[in-house]
């Protein structure tokens, strides 16, 4: 059992949990994820590690409560325990001193981009970060991101904060203005696809972090397969980070929708007995 030490609301339906998990904290690196199972009848769900403290023996996960399982997780309070927590899984980000790099976090993707930006900064890079969301109430960690970035740029779809527009608009300006060595982008699949399309003409290597449907997270089941270049890869053991210019995003998006109907069924079961969606 893994104790939740903190449950903090970061924005509209966005939650931060700090969980006691000394062994995982001791090994966690930027770019990795964990799998949690809340209780006996729950699913195994992958969540990116947003932060960790080796001293305190804790890891931080951030998620948006959109699906049945994440909505259920959001109800957990500090002091309660999660039944299963396993990790750190996946290959850590390749951190080197590249020169000037751009780290892009879209929506809840701001969480996993943070440790990458921090590690890149520590490795001596000039880090330009771009964070974006639909509107300002979905933005979080501005100060934390600013602290590990040489420059922090913000974009919102509705213009409620920073520049009105997409992170790709901000990125395009940057690419036209100066020499960027490498780009990391984490966020919704459409955003990562757009980022990859933006950097392609500039031939800037672009790393994206995929979040496909997963079961065991250790290579065993093959649910998380993604097409990268001409090959099929397993996001859990070969990723979750891949070269954005090689990823078949359209396939990845279709695969994410496999269980859409089932998701609706379980949401309907969980709420007011009638699926009214009232909370």
């Amino acid at each position: 059992m893994y104790e939740i030490l903190k449950n903090e609301v970061l924005g509209s339906n966005i939650y931060l949990f700090e969980v006691k998990a000394a062994r995982i904290a001791a090994k966690a690196e930027a770019g990795q994820f964990v799998i949690i199972r809340l209780h006996e009848t729950a699913e195994r769900i992958p969540l990116t590690i947003a932060d960790y403290s080796r001293e305190k023996g804790t890891i931080t996960i951030i998620f948006q409560a959109v699906g049945a399982s994440t909505r259920e997780l959001a109800e957990y309070e500090a002091g309660q325990k999660i039944l299963d927590l396993v990790g750190p899984l996946g290959v850590p980000s390749e951190i080197e001193n590249y020169g000037t790099v751009v780290c892009i976090g879209g929506g809840v993707g701001i969480a996993p981009i943070y440790p990458i930006a921090r590690a890149l900064k520590e490795a001596g890079n000039r880090v330009i970060s771009i964070i974006g969301a639909r509107s300002r109430d979905l933005l979080f960690w501005k100060e934390k991101m600013a602290a590990v970035s040489d420059e922090l740029l913000i974009a919102t779809d509705d213009g409620s904060e920073g520049r009105k527009g997409f992170v790709t608009d901000v990125l395009k300006d940057l690419l036209e203005k100066e020499k960027i060595e490498r780009v990391w982008a984490i966020g919704p699949m459409v955003m990562m696809k757009a980022v990859a399309n933006t950097t392609r003409p500039f031939a800037v290597k672009t790393i994206v972090s995929l979040n496909p449907i997963m079961v065991d997270g250790t290579g065993m089941c093959g649910a998380c397969r993604v097409a990268v270049g001409k090959e099929t890869k397993f996001a859990c053991v070969d990723g979750p980070e891949f070269d954005g210019h090689e990823v078949d995003f359209d396939l990845a998006m279709k695969r994410l929708a496999i269980f859409k109907d089932e998701e609706q069924r379980i949401l309907a079961k969980g709420q007011c007995g009638g699926g009214c969606g009232c909370h």
Binding site: R23, I24, K27, R37, T41, A42, E43, R44, A68, S69, L83, D84, L85, V86, G87, P88, L89, V215, D216, T218, G219, M220, C221, G222, A223, R225, V226, A227, T232, F234, V237, L251, K254, R255, A257, I258, F259, D261, E262, E263, R265, I266, K269
Partner: protein, 464 residues
């Protein structure tokens, strides 16, 4: 008692009924049936059956005890060598092991050793629940990686010798393939957990949610004070055929299909939150035990038609005869000399058909089976909405990738001595599917047993 030529039949659930539930298919012998079957044993002077058992069970001795109506003694004899008898009694391919050597099999049917083993194990679990004998503890620690059949056996044997044993398991429950792979209707999970409880009673500590290679490496474990490590991580990376359209929705690896169902209980969705999607027409590619499990599971999940699609003929099917029979009784259909070459999807990216090619059998290949040869121009489309790819698994890469100096085979399996499990690293042993490639529960157990013995000799300084 007159000697009967045929074995005592084991009662089973009616196929029409069982295909609608996940309850166990074979129901087991009653005491009377077990006694009658045991009485067929000739008690040979030179019992060949014993030589056919990878875990060295004293087969004639435990059968004698049954004949004398002393199941308690039978259980003791059985458990002396086999730590997982209720599992072996259900899923071992006895026809190729002990029973193959039975002298009665020359003229009639061999003694149903597997069924008797199952009877004894079930009787013991339900009636007495044997307490393990206390052993003198040895002040040495052994880490076992993976809690499947190989790891559990190695752990139990080392614990019986007095070692302090910890098993590290990546999933949230121990048992490995016994939990995620083999369906409830063939091996009830309750039975698996009860046998694991016995191993815990021997003093074995099991840490779940611990991925060796990620949560800690083998080097970390040795540094933490483990004197030896046994790697029993199994075959845990599904093979695909790399066909066009193979990543369409509705195409599962057998591992995913079975893990969702068995481990995560998707058949109880939405009471259990893990979903599985099942179509009307399911094709399972491959014809091993895993393929049979998938095809039969598909029917239980509500498929209207379930096909085994296999590129060789019925004769070459690697699955156990009994599993094939059970599948046929339940309505699984077989398409032989056929293999997919591409998949077609709808606009949402869901599989709707597969293009298959017909095959003919040529000369035997290195496996001794006749080689399937594609017939040009024989392509045809078959409508399907679910596909399960059950063509075997490769070695899981997590331990090999994080263990420098561990020598692997060309296929990525761990190179280990067949008799001892010794690897290229001192203190590190390996066995089971991670060494041999996907095989059977009993062979993995045999490897675990040999490795336990070798680890003991090694830690006692008998061998280096």
């Amino acid at each position: 008692m007159s000697l009967r030529k045929s074995r005592v039949e084991m009662p089973a659930q009616d196929p029409k009924e069982r295909v609608k539930n996940f309850k166990e298919v074979a129901l087991g012998y009653t005491s009377e049936m077990a006694r009658e079957e045991a009485s067929r044993c000739l008690n040979c002077k030179n019992p060949l059956c014993k030589k056919g058992c990878p875990v060295e069970v004293d087969i004639p001795e435990f059968i004698s005890a049954l004949k004398e109506d002393d199941p308690a003694r039978a259980a003791k004899i059985l458990k002396n060598k086999n730590n997982l008898p209720a599992i072996c009694g259900r899923v071992c391919p006895q026809e190729n092991q002990c029973e193959m050597h039975c002298i009665l099999g020359k003229k009639g049917e061999p003694v149903a050793i597997g069924r008797l083993e199952r009877f004894v194990a079930d009787w013991e679990r339900e009636q007495v629940n044997l307490k393990p004998e206390k052993v003198e503890t040895i002040n040495k620690k052994v880490a076992i990686i993976g809690s499947g059949p190989a790891g559990l056996t190695a752990a139990a044997d080392l614990a019986k010798l007095g070692y302090q044993v910890t098993i590290f398991e990546a999933l949230h429950v121990p048992g490995g393939v016994l939990m995620y792979g083999i369906p409830e209707f063939r091996l009830p999970k309750e039975v698996v957990q009860q046998e694991i409880n016995y191993i815990k009673k021997l003093g074995v500590d099991i840490q779940v949610n611990f991925v060796v290679g990620k949560t800690a490496t083998i080097a970390d474990l040795l540094e933490e004070g483990y004197d030896a490590v046994f790697i029993g991580t199994g075959a845990g990376l599904p093979n695909f055929m790399n066909l066009p359209g193979e990543n369409l929705n509705g195409i599962y690896s057998a591992n995913e299909f079975l893990t969702r169902t068995n481990l995560m209980k998707a058949y109880l969705f939405p009471q259990y939150a893990t979903p599985i999607k099942i179509g009307k027409k399911v094709a399972v590619i491959g014809a091993g035990n895993v393929a049979m499990d998938a095809a039969r599971t598909a029917l239980r999940l509500g498929a209207e038609e379930s096909y085994i699609v296999y590129r060789r003929s019925a004769e070459e099917m690697p699955a156990r005869h009994e599993e094939v029979e059970h599948a046929r009784e339940e309505g699984v259909q077989f398409l032989f000399l056929t293999s997919p070459v591409a998949y077609k999807g709808d606009e949402k990216g869901h599989v709707r058909a597969m293009t298959c090619q017909k095959f003919a059998l040529g000369d035997p290949d290195e496996s001794g089976r006749r080689k399937p040869v594609a017939i040009p121009g024989s392509e045809f489309d078959m409508e399907v909405d679910t596909v399960v790819v059950a063509i075997g698994q490769g070695p899981n890469p997590l331990v090999p990738r994080t263990t420098p100096g561990l020598i692997l085979t060309k296929k990525g399996n761990i190179q280990a001595d067949e008799e001892t499990g010794a690897t290229s690293l001192p203190n590190v042993f390996a066995g089971g599917d991670i060494v041999t490639g996907a095989a059977t529960v009993i062979l993995a157990m045999g490897a675990g047993k040999k490795a336990a013995r070798a680890i003991h000799r090694y830690l006692q300084g008998i061998e280096k």
